[in-house]
Symmetry: C2
Subunit: 466 residues, 2 copies
Amino acid sequence: MTQKLSAVLDHIDADFDNSLQRLFTLLRIKSISADPAFVKDCKQAADHLAGDLSSLGFTAEVRSTGGHPAVVAKSADVGRRPHVLFYGHYDVQPVDPLELWHSPPFEPAVTDHADGRKIIVARGAEDDKGQLMTFIEACRAWKAVTGSLPLDVTFLIEGEEEVGSKHLVAFLDQHKKDLAADFALVCDTSMWDPNTPAITTALRGLVYDEVRITAANRDLHSGLFGGAAQNPIRVLTRILGALHDDNGRVTIPGFYDGVKDLPPDILAQWKALAFTPETFLKPIGLSIPAGEKDRLMIEQVFSRPTCDINGIVGGYTAEGSKTVIPSQASAKVSFRLVDGQDPAKIRAAFRAFVTERLPKDCTADFIDHSGAPAISLDWGMKPLAAAKRALTEEWGREALLIGSGGSIPVVGDFKRTLGLDTVLVGFGLDDDNIHSPNEKYDLQSYHKGIRSWARILAALAEMPKA
Amino acid sequence: MTQKLSAVLDHIDADFDNSLQRLFTLLRIKSISADPAFVKDCKQAADHLAGDLSSLGFTAEVRSTGGHPAVVAKSADVGRRPHVLFYGHYDVQPVDPLELWHSPPFEPAVTDHADGRKIIVARGAEDDKGQLMTFIEACRAWKAVTGSLPLDVTFLIEGEEEVGSKHLVAFLDQHKKDLAADFALVCDTSMWDPNTPAITTALRGLVYDEVRITAANRDLHSGLFGGAAQNPIRVLTRILGALHDDNGRVTIPGFYDGVKDLPPDILAQWKALAFTPETFLKPIGLSIPAGEKDRLMIEQVFSRPTCDINGIVGGYTAEGSKTVIPSQASAKVSFRLVDGQDPAKIRAAFRAFVTERLPKDCTADFIDHSGAPAISLDWGMKPLAAAKRALTEEWGREALLIGSGGSIPVVGDFKRTLGLDTVLVGFGLDDDNIHSPNEKYDLQSYHKGIRSWARILAALAEMPKA
């Protein structure tokens, strides 16, 4: 195996320019799942991936989900253990505000980062097309060099991750037999820093709600009606402005019910990490942690629940001025959840918080965008140890087991629906601007990411059989 | 004079269809002053009006102002007293949200209102093209029937009223000699109800400010940064949500400094008017006055200062969800001022209110959109009595002297720059949807508005000479 792996790694290095061009081809497809204008592009991305995996010898199909389609692909040599289910997503976030991009979001290019790092810039460069392609390219190299994979692989690549994976659970349920495996691999997480690999073992959950407040039955002139007519922006800001207290705590009754403090040994470990406002906030232009004042900043992003207003709009927002009292105002509000919090209860508590504060002649409508509980993985599972060893070998630094502030609901769905544990390995970085203008993926992340997966596949194949 | 007036009124009735077509021609011009895309349309409206007034024998010119041009037109028979300066504006408000219009905003039509009233529907139907045309059509009728006007008229029609009349004071100053008159007439106000005419003698002032709060130097992923990174929407809603207390009072320190209570006799008059939530709020779908709880609702809209958030925007506002912490969020905030409040002080107090509440690593930028003090006119001025008599004759009901919640800063500018008092007569109604989708002007307002001005011109000409 060691000799084969060595040849595979050499092939990855020699073929890297082609790996990059294949990623560029995928990045050029405008697969924005949130916007109905890009339905065809999403389908195109699914077709492209199915075609690519077929060319590698996978039995690949684009399957309908009720929303954007999913790709399911199975390696030809079914029967080689362990059998892994690899998950990724081809859909990307919207690109607005477009004017802040330094180059068109769907015209990928390699450029120089401020500090000299080479980076791939495009929407999806990291999340999740670049990450997804690290795994596909590793499989490609194994096939090219040895004619087969060291273990069996089933791919599940969905197209609705950025819009809450609404159809995924039903899809998993429907295709349970086809998706059977020993455990799952997901490449949608980050490294600890540009040179230190990491495996994510705790993920925050997410509740994402939208609230729209209606006051008058039409827009009004603020001179004629101002003072007597209720203004829905006033009502909305008053309610949202009360979501946090002076100490950064969320004020919704029951919000912290079930939230546990960190075990003292983990807290001690985290205290030892150089995770400071200087290292974490200064690069984004901030200096003061905005969360609960009595918590470490690393707790604020890894192990404490949060509330963020992700969007707000109402009234006249174009250039200039308009003396209008609008009829409606709305906001998108999301909550990052930790172990012990129930998404349904948090959503209900938020909605009660809003409706209790409404003037009697105003109404509130809500849209449920998504909800998933937090996840804690088993730090002792065997594939995790194998992946950790492989990552440590590739990067020359001990791979860390870390928490993540983000949510990857599919991990919980895999456990509940397919009975699978998941190993989360990814090569993203904090400064990748995912979901923002100028999203990027370090060229090194892509290159060593491919090499990392090649090693992990070998390490997993060498595990004692279950 | 009585015989001439009678012939003029008959002519107005006979020619009304043509008056309507002439208004339609003006309404078709998309003279939106706030949006740079409509610069040519504004110029077109000015050219059209100058051409129309020239055809009536006025010496009419389109004059540059530094922004959208103004029309100045003088009647040929200079020397007949009194000499009045008539002011109107040809610019209109933006039309968004366009999807709420039942017919295209620049394709005027006469339709039936819910209660059977005939209405003219278009952007600007009332504010101010319809109102402006009542006066022009009255002049046209006098010229058509008698060959001349009963008094001298100078027109000043500007194109920046809806964007704060930024260039008007300098323009008045520059053209002082050309604009000399005995007093001013303005047609940009409302009646008391559809059958009761009114003259407005008190106007609230206006301060309109925009605030933009910046937190991080770029948009962030709420999973990776949520909890530690400050969210500018959270900061903005917290600040704006604190602008009013539980009793509807504005909380900005010093906001009510200098604000006087109503004289007891006026308060008693106002109490006697049937101005109730049932009559004023129910038609717009509301029931609870939103202003200071210890004030009459009529005080809330006529004589008390207010604060309204006219627009707010930040983060992701399109369909679906995006887990973003935006870099910036902004709001447009305006204040209606009453006698005794200094616009500069109010603006400074608002900005201090914002900046004092900012986290240290956030910044706030402000844009000054406009500012004008409140105005109280002399209830005893002679032209006002003449206008009141003429209105009472036309409508068969005693014309009321009322306050207005809106601001018409030009009234103060005329006094300060040209030394002129102003008589404010208008035929708008509370349900005209000005600044909103489906703006309308009652057909009766237009028809009887033209007749009213014909009568007022006669009444003013018959006043004892000063």
